[in-house]
Amino acid sequence: MTTTAGLAAGPGLHAWLLLAAVLFCIGIYGVLSRRNLVAILCSVELMANAVNINLVAFSRFHGDLLGQAFALFSVALTVAEVGIGLAIVILVYRARKGIDVDELDLLRG
């Protein structure tokens, strides 16, 4: 159990949020700019973890454990998502002999 004094000693909430925001932006940048599907998936993971950091940070500063439980839940979900995502990537690779997203434009109008 942490104390209020311990809180004061460490970095403030803003710092954590800033870290999460930076991570999130890196994730977005990755999603938008990488052409490799696996890399995009990794970037999505970064974004998901940025959210988790937020959850944990708020939980910590509010003194409510529900947030941390939620973060754990989210991590589990992310694992499932990665599983499905990688499966899709493999299927795409089999179908198209490549995982370059620029060539995946079947929706083009």
């Binding site: 977005i28 999603v31 938008l32 997203v101 995946l104 434009d105 079947l106 929706l107 083009r108 109008g109």
Partner: protein, 600 residues
Amino acid sequence: MLILALTSLLAPLLCFALLAVVEPLRRRGRLAGRLSALVAVSSFAAAARVAWMVLVDGADPVTWTVHWLVHEGQGFAPVGIHIDGISASMLAVVTLVAACVQVYSLGYMADEPPAAQGRYFAWHSLFIVAMGLLVLAPDLLQLFLGWELVGLCSYLLIGFYWRKPSAGKAAVKAFWVTKFADMGLLLGIIALFGATGTMSWEHPPAGIWALVVPALLFVGVMGKSAQVPLHIWLPDAMEGPTPVSALLHAATMVAAGVFLVVRAYPLFEAAPAMLTFMAWLGAITALVAAVTAVVQDDIKKVLAYSTCSQLGYMVAALGSGHLMGGYFHLTTHAFFKALLFLGAGAAIHAVHSNSIFDMGGLWRKTPVGAALFIVGALALAGVPGFAGFFSKDLILEELLHAGHLGPLLLLVVSAGLTAFYMTRVVAIAFFGEPGARAAHAHEAPWIMLAPMALLGMLALVGGFGGGLLAEAWGQEYHFAVTPVGVVTTLFGLAGIGVGVVRYGTRTWTGLTLDGLRGFILSGPVDRFWDSAWRRGLLPVARMVGWFDRYVVDGLMNLVAVAVLKLGAGVRRLQTGRAQDYVFAVVVGALLFLAYGVVGG
């Protein structure tokens, strides 16, 4: 009397319906022809009885009408039968000539295929109905109905030999030209209705309409009665079988215009300027057509131009303010011109050619036909004693009284020319050198000669019927020798004399005027209308059609293409790449954020 008049109208109608619907009957051409001729004769009998009752017994005029149209619950536009002196006598003349021509046609058309004969007689029956409608009309609308229907019969009969390209051209030309003129007639009727609320000729409209209405009506007359410059269809109309030319394009249908003026005279009388115009136009037509007739080699063309010319006489006569002369000439002309055409038909039948030079010396081969033709020619030339003499004399007399000296002069000159060109035809075709084709010529059968003989008799004595005709107006008519008559007769005799000297005895052949001849034969009026058609209407139609296809429709297509292009533009936003969509989401989210920060 009403029943009789109706009979003379309905019998041919029934005959037409029978021939039109019952195909086996029509295909048996001779039977159809006999039926049709019988009906025509009975139609004449009924009409003659009506005319007798009105003109001799002095029966009162009868009118029976029903309302053809309706507005605001009120019937209007009466159609039916109106019998008075004018309509009764005209009906008798029309049915008489029609009966003669139909009987004659039984012989003339005998060599045609049976189905074609059936068609021919069906249309002839229809023509009698149409002409009856026109003549018995109680007001201008019904007159117009009949007027258009006779035009239709004319179109169909000119195009009787429809496989011949020239016949097809002539038929549509006749229809177009007369229909063009009919625009004026229809507009005149409508304007009359607009001004007076009726389509009756009894009440002239007031103000400017008093001039406009008759002027518009007269445009129709110019087309139908072949007045310059709308006469161009009549010579071409000779493509039809010769009996058709005799009935429609000489005796009756083309006279419908003159009849219209006679009928609607109260309207014309109210516009003195119109009368003067008619006198001049008629006289000019008479002269121009007479000059043109002189240079024709086709016997039917000569007669056609002569018809134009004589119609000019009638129109000019009506311009004098008197009705009797024009109407009298209409009747006598119907007899002798029909006779002339039937005679020409007999000659054509004999030599199978229209050219007077192919005929040559027919007198020896076909004496009866030639004699009858010559009777007609003498009547046309206005030789004293023949029918044409009396009516022509009366016309000139009336013009003198009205003081139209210019037209009078032109008509007197035309009388000389008329005599000249008829002498030319007679001299070349019936006397002169025997033509190449005349060798095997033989007399026409009696069924053709009998009606000609009847008409010939009328051409001889018809002039004495003037008194009877004058009854139609309750007037007296007595022939008197006058200076004008003497001068005209002298002109006529001179024309005959010159003709005999030049073409008969060939003692004088100088003065050929080849330049003038060439100019006339080139058809200046025809060329004018032709260029109006080629350089006027056709290019305009082409332009409009092009404009519609490529500009109006092009604009519609442009709208369609613009939408397509817009779609194509918008489509480019859909790259199909998930990253682009995410990018758009991010940008959108940032924009919302910015709005929250700045605007919120």
